[in-house]
């Protein structure tokens, strides 16, 4: 499935929100890997002035002792001060909420943000933590065996994987 219409929805919602936002312009941070792809597109379309940040949350995961370290850990890169900054945190698919918790923990190790808003392309049922998106284009109701996965970066494709 082509995720472009979903990205279009997010661009429109975010643009309206940014226009009304009273504070200084927020910084956008994408979570590796899918979230960073989405964030790249949103960042370009919205013409944000602060450079895009990326987070690899491998060092902050809560399943490290069960799964070990992901072999393709990338360096996190936040090219701005996090302290007192409004942050738009971007991921591809929101499921259990554990990735977002880890990402927030990592952000706080860079400073105390003024606020964090969560932007996701898609969300599905199965939350295990009290975390909800502020901006979300697509909603799915799936069985635990089903998965949605974003592949990319060019072209981006959102796939529904059933066993």
């Amino acid at each position: 499935m082509n995720p472009d219409p979903g990205i279009e929805t997010l661009v429109n919602e975010l643009r309206a929100w940014l226009d009304a936002f009273p504070g200084p312009e927020p910084a956008m941070v994408g979570i590796h890997t899918g979230g960073a792809w989405i964030a790249e597109r949103l960042h370009a379309r919205l013409g944000l002035s602060l450079p895009l940040g990326t987070l690899d949350i491998s060092f902050y995961r809560d399943d490290f002792t069960r799964k070990g370290l992901h072999p393709l850990v990338r360096p996190s890169h936040l090219p701005f001060e996090v302290e007192e900054r409004h942050i738009l945190l971007v991921d591809d698919v929101l499921y259990t909420g554990r990735t977002i918790r880890a990402a927030m923990n990592e952000l706080f190790d860079y400073g105390r943000p003024a606020s964090i808003r969560l932007v996701v392309l898609a969300e599905r049922n199965g939350r295990e933590l009290p975390i909800q998106p502020d901006f979300c284009a697509l909603h799915y109701n799936l069985t635990p065996e089903q998965q949605i996965k974003l592949s990319g970066p060019d072209p981006l494709r959102l796939e529904l994987l059933a066993p």
């Binding site: 060092f59 002792t65 069960r66 370290l69 072999p71 360096p75 923990n105 706080f108 860079y110």
Partner: protein
């Protein structure tokens, strides 16, 4: 040349878990190029932790790491300690020579006691070759052992941080000429470097040393041997100087330090035959005026202090790869 027996190559299976991931890190010998490249890639990620205002990640929270140093060391012990702390592990430094063994407790009794304190990892430095392997064979199954230098045998984390430093400065080692200079005979660092560089198919690895400071089996290590600096350093991209290990010298291997410096000391003039952008490395501590001139050690081509910072990231990578590999988890 002097013959020093070395522990045989270790079956890779002793270092790897059933899933093929690192369990112990005792020597680079027998490990795959793929695994070494994975260590280098994970190390690169840990470099960003040093850029965080909070230089700490929660990866090894709740893990207990014992630094077992049977031989004095400041730098290596400190970087292992700091690496463990940056991973949020609890770390204990045991200076064993000064404690239990002096009261007659056997090594294995000491280990059993530390295991009873629910430790997860031993970082071992010992003057005897093979000590870390021996400990790895006898520890409880949930404990990882990292070799922080054993006798003249291996110093695998140092070798990995050196390869990491080379790669960051000069790119893929396959395209590089690398010279290792000085006291190869006593150097576990050189041995581990040579194995790591060969596994990663380095372009050309040279050793430059007098005959008396080369091990008898040096030809079998797959290196080019040079006895003089002018031929040894010609066109190299990387010069690795080794510390002259005066404390390990027995007998008359060298006429004098002064004579060594005259023939093998790295000076600006000697370095002139190397590639103009060659980098200079040294595992430390540096003997200024013995193996290297101060002007070179502190000069623009020196990456000696960068090696120290990189060592932290590489040790964080290796520690977390060993402790995260437990299927089912022990935490």
């Amino acid at each position: 040349m002097m013959h020093v027996p070395q522990p045989g190559p270790l079956p890779a299976t002793q270092q790897l878990g059933p899933d093929g991931r690192l369990r112990h890190f005792l020597t680079v010998e027998g490990l795959s190029a793929e695994l070494l490249r994975e260590i280098l890639a994970v190390s690169e990620s840990f470099m960003s932790v040093a850029a965080q205002p909070v230089k700490k990640v929660p990866l090894l929270r709740g893990k207990t790491i014992f630094n077992l140093f049977f031989e004095p060391s400041t730098r290596t012990r400190t970087t292992f300690e700091l690496a463990a702390k940056r991973l949020s592990a609890d770390v204990m430094n045991m200076n064993i020579s000064a404690s239990a063994t002096r009261k007659g407790e056997s090594l294995l009794d000491t280990l059993r006691n530390l295991e009873a304190m629910h430790s997860d990892m031993f970082v071992v430095r010992h003057a005897e070759s093979g000590a870390a392997q021996l400990i790895a064979r006898h520890v409880a199954p949930h404990i990882s052992v990292i070799n922080a230098g054993d006798g003249r045998h291996a110093h695998p984390t140092q070798a990995m941080l050196d390869v990491f430093t080379i790669q960051r400065n000069k790119g893929d080692v396959r395209n590089l000429r690398i010279a290792i200079v000085g006291d190869i005979l006593h150097s576990r660092v050189a041995r581990s470097q040579i194995h790591a560089l060969n596994i990663l198919h380095a372009g050309e690895v040279r050793v430059v040393a007098p005959k008396t400071l080369l091990p008898a089996d040096v030809e079998q290590l797959g290196v080019h041997i040079h006895h003089d600096m002018t031929s040894g350093l010609r066109d190299v991209d990387v010069v690795i100087m080794l510390r002259l290990q005066k404390e390990r010298m027995s007998g008359a291997l060298l006429p004098s330090e002064h004579e060594f410096y005259r023939l093998y000391g790295l000076t600006e003039e000697r370095l002139a035959v190397a590639h103009p952008e060659a980098i200079v490395m040294h595992p430390g501590p540096v003997n200024r005026g013995v193996e290297i001139a101060s002007e070179v050690a502190d000069g623009p081509r020196s990456v000696i202090l960068e090696q120290v910072s990189n060592g932290l990231a590489v040790r964080m990578a290796i520690m977390s790869m060993c402790l995260g590999a437990r299927p089912g988890g022990t935490a």
